[in-house]
């Protein structure tokens, strides 16, 4: 039974104020995304490649009967490619159109951060990735690069003739 100082808030209450992030590694750097957007984390499955797709799109995989596109964040962020290892995991992120998977080198942990613990991205020259960074979090003196999943997902929306999303109802002008 942990001792809780009278008047202080329980660890649960403290955590409630904070946002949960899933931390993972990409080329020794620690990244994080909002946990609420993560549907599941799986070991790599067979991926069918798609000719003509963006370079970082690995292809599609069969996740229990669902076709899920998978993209390689290393390639997307211009990092050197790396073969899949035993630690490689695919993080499935939820989206309106069925979700998408991203492979990461290793999944680390769940992290609690309040908005105060997230700094703005310093202005350095990381053109490729900068658009997708929400801020830099700090845990135990290590930085956690927090990614904006929504923006990453949106970057895969191709302009097409049938723009309407799955069942999305366009508004009447």
């Amino acid at each position: 039974m942990p001792y809780i100082r009278p008047g202080s808030r329980s660890p649960e209450a403290l955590k409630a104020d904070k946002q949960k992030y899933l931390a993972f590694f990409l080329a020794q750097e620690k990244y994080g995304i909002k946990l609420e957007l993560v549907k599941e984390i799986i070991r790599p499955l067979f991926i069918t490649s798609i000719p003509g797709a963006a370079q970082d799109v690995l292809g599609v995989m069969n996740l229990r009967g669902h076709v899920i596109p998978v993209a390689n964040l290393r390639i997307k962020f211009g990092m050197p490619e790396h073969p899949f290892t035993d630690d490689t995991r695919i993080i499935i992120v939820d989206s309106d159109d069925g979700g998408m998977g991203f492979n990461v080198d290793r999944v680390d942990d769940m992290v609690f951060l309040s908005s105060g613990e997230i700094d703005e991205t310093p202005n350095f020259d990381v053109a490729i990735i900068r658009d997708y960074i929400q801020g830099i979090g700090k845990i135990d003196l290590r930085s956690l690069i927090i990614l904006e999943v929504e923006k990453i997902l949106a970057s895969y929306d191709l302009p097409g003739k049938e723009v309407a999303g799955n069942g999305a109802i366009p508004s009447i002008p």
């Binding site: 599609v60 009967g65 097409g160 508004s171």
Partner: protein, 697 residues
């Protein structure tokens, strides 16, 4: 607008209300035939019509009230309407006397529905559909209360009433139709900004939806009484709907006084002579009614349940996984080499059951369009009878399989289009005769499974679309400017805008131009599309395209390099190893193949998709003679793997990926991409064009 309403509008006419003026104009137009027949009314109607037109033309501040004319008109119309009502009352009494007219008690028109002739399945469909619409209304109205200015929601409620009206009218359920119509009118007035959607109005609308629900549920009895069933509050509700102003002002004055007596009156205003009306809002009496229905549940009705798409998808996915897992079990060495007969036969049995399960779960979703088309046939017959036109409805491709979920969604749109074709498209017999057409109109309903879509065409040989009128309307609604140059096909697409109508005559069968926007929206909600081609004087064709997303196709699995793809078998005319003499080149670049006395261009799929390590020599490769529309060409592939039925799935986030229509999960648990035939061909021909341009330079 009914006659009484018309008179009340005339009495309270305000010159600065364009809406009222338009209403009067429309009423006159609509009832032109009857008005001109009556010598007592004809001159006043003409004068009034001229006066109103004049009024609409001049700006609000310059309008002059011609009190004398209006008074003369009111007097004349009142007189005429009274005698008319008497006549129609006599008529309906007469009808009641005839025993074989068991379906009477309708207000106007002769009823087309009788319990003996109606198909229980169609009726069930109608009941379910309408109840769905009504439930939707309920939830939307509740939403409106928190966000009263949300036009989107107002439109949705409006459309739901409209659809209910439309189908009820086909069956000849006059009472339901009239109520839905009045409710629709109320919403239309809200939509036009005549009133704000206050809580009171929302109440009336909700009450209308509830009452409609009650009436429609009652239809399940399949008895003549159920058709003529009128809830006690019906007439009162109709009054409320036709003159909500009165109702609101009554409520407002009451709430201002706010005495207990007033609130009693307020209550009474809502519920006078309608005990069951209270029940509609409260729980009990309505529940009693429901129980009653449960008891009288008629075995003639088609039994079905509705299952959500998600659940269906889940089932299908899970069964698919089962099959794959079973495949792995079957391939397991231990099981293959085991000597235990019971284990082997159990495993085989399990395999059979799994496949059976898959078959069933797939068939749960796939249905031929036949039922839908038969329904259309029936509806067309009824419509014909009412419109006095004879039309031949030809149906083809009714065995095209379509996802059950899609079928449900295309019912309404198809019904609308058929209705439109008969009502507006096909001319009256005399006009057809003058135009040198056979008196019998012709409508063709055709379905095919083409390219990556299911295509349904509704073609009529009527008058076609009036482009000038569409343009005029589009300009009047500021959808396009006067100067804007538009192609004919661009202009025709405006008929799908909300509230658009070029029909002079508003009939009860098809309404005031809300139809096509509903159609379009319904189709878009299932990722479908609709377009129209019109040939003035010779008719028009509506083409509906539905996605394959939910459909199953026969696919050819083939190899190019390391990749395996699926192409819909329907596009492939022929597959063969070309002989050396069959292949030749033009200008050392464009390759051609001789097939059935034609030289067709060859496209190397590995080049189109940029795949290395493919077979480069045509005589070692395989060519698919590929068919799309009226074009043909040869696609070069490495080898054919198999032919199989596949369930098409969306590529999700990557669904716009050029060249691919979707994906399928095969028996090995891996995904194969399905080639987008149409797109591929476009790419291919573009390439030819570029090449030929290069050559010209």
């Amino acid at each position: 607008m009914n006659n009484n309403k018309f008179i009340s509008v005339l009495k309270t006419m305000q010159l600065d209300k364009d809406r009222t003026l338009l209403e009067i104009r429309d009423f006159l137009k609509l009832n032109k035939d009857e008005l001109t027949e009556n010598p007592a009314v004809q001159p006043v109607a003409a004068a009034l019509s001229g006066y109103i037109k004049e009024l609409i033309r001049v700006p609000k501040e310059k309008r002059m009230l011609n009190k004398e004319l209006i008074e003369v008109c009111i007097a004349a119309f009142q007189k005429a309407f009274v005698s008319e009502t008497e006549a129609s009352l006599n008529l309906s009494v007469n009808n009641n006397n005839e025993e074989d007219e068991n379906k009477s008690q309708t207000f106007e028109d002769s009823p087309v529905f009788s319990p003996d002739t109606v198909d229980p399945e169609i009726l069930t469909e109608f009941i379910n559909e309408s109840l769905e619409h009504l439930e939707m209304i309920e939830s939307q109205l509740v939403e409106l209360e928190s966000d009263p200015d949300n036009r989107e929601v107002i439109n949705a409620v409006f459309r739901a009433f409209h659809s209910t009206k439309g189908t009820a009218s086909i069956f000849g359920f006059e009472n339901i139709k009239n109520l839905a119509h009045s409710a629709e009118m109320l919403l239309d007035r809200v939509r036009q900004g005549e009133f704000q959607l206050t809580e009171e109005l929302a109440d009336i609308a909700l009450l209308s939806a509830d009452t409609l629900k009650l009436m429609i549920t009652k239809l399940k009895d399949l008895s003549p009484q159920s058709i003529s069933f009128l809830p006690g509050n019906y007439q009162q509700l109709m009054d409320c709907l036709s003159s909500p102003e009165k109702y609101i002002s009554l409520k407002q004055s009451l709430s201002q006084e706010d005495t207990s007596e007033a609130s009693e009156i307020k209550h009474a205003a809502k519920t006078t002579n309608a005990d069951d009306l209270a029940g509609l809002k409260g729980a009990n009496p309505y529940a009693d009614e429901k129980d009653q229905f449960a008891v009288t549940d008629n075995s003639r009705l088609y039994q079905s349940i509705r299952v959500s798409v998600d659940k269906m998808e889940d089932l299908l996915n899970t069964v698919g996984e089962l099959i794959i897992t079973y495949g792995m079990l079957e391939a397991n060495e231990y099981i293959l080499s085991n000597k235990d007969r019971t284990l082997t036969s159990t495993a085989n049995q399990m395999g059979k059951i799994s496949r059976q399960l898959q078959k069933i779960s797939l068939s749960l979703r796939m249905v031929p369009l036949k039922n839908t088309f038969v329904k259309m046939e029936r509806a067309a017959r009824d419509l014909m009878r009412r419109s006095g036109k004879t039309v031949q409805l030809q149906i083809s491709g009714e065995n095209t399989n379509i996802d059950r979920n899609l079928v449900e969604k295309i019912n309404d749109p198809l019904m609308h289009l058929i209705r439109n074709a008969i009502d507006h498209g096909i001319e009256p017999p005399e006009e057809r005769h003058r135009g040198g057409k056979p008196e019998q109109g012709y409508i063709r309903l055709h379905a095919t499974h083409s390219a990556d879509k299911i295509i349904i065409e509704i073609q009529d040989d009527g008058r076609g679309l009036n482009l000038d009128k569409i343009r005029e309307q589009a300009e009047a609604r500021h959808l396009i400017s006067n100067a804007q140059e538009l192609s004919e096909s661009d202009i025709t697409q405006y008929i799908f805008s909300p509230g658009f109508s070029t029909a002079d005559k508003v009939t009860e069968i098809s309404g005031r131009g809300v139809g096509l926007d509903v159609v379009k929206r319904n189709l878009e909600s299932i990722q479908g599309s609709i377009e129209v081609r019109s040939n003035p004087g010779a008719g028009c064709v509506f083409t509906i395209r539905l996605p394959l997303t939910l459909a199953i196709i026969d696919g050819l699995l083939f190899k190019v390099g390391q990749h395996e793809f699926i192409i819909p078998a329907i596009h492939v005319r022929h597959i063969f190893h070309p002989k050396t003499e069959q292949v030749s080149t033009v200008n050392l670049k464009g390759e051609m193949i001789f097939f059935q006395n034609n030289w067709l261009p060859i496209f190397r799929l590995h080049k189109l998709l940029d795949i290395s390590e493919a077979i480069k020599e045509p005589t070692e490769a395989l060519v698919l003679i590929f068919n799309y529309g009226n074009k043909m060409c040869a696609l070069m592939i490495d080898a054919l793997v198999s032919k199989q039925q596949v369930v098409i799935k969306s590529l999700g986030k990557l669904r716009q990926q050029p060249g691919f229509a979707g994906a399928a999960i095969l028996g090995d648990g891996h995904i194969r991409l399905i080639l987008d035939a149409a797109h591929l061909l476009r790419l291919a021909f573009q390439q030819v064009e570029i090449q030929s341009q290069v050559r010209i330079c």
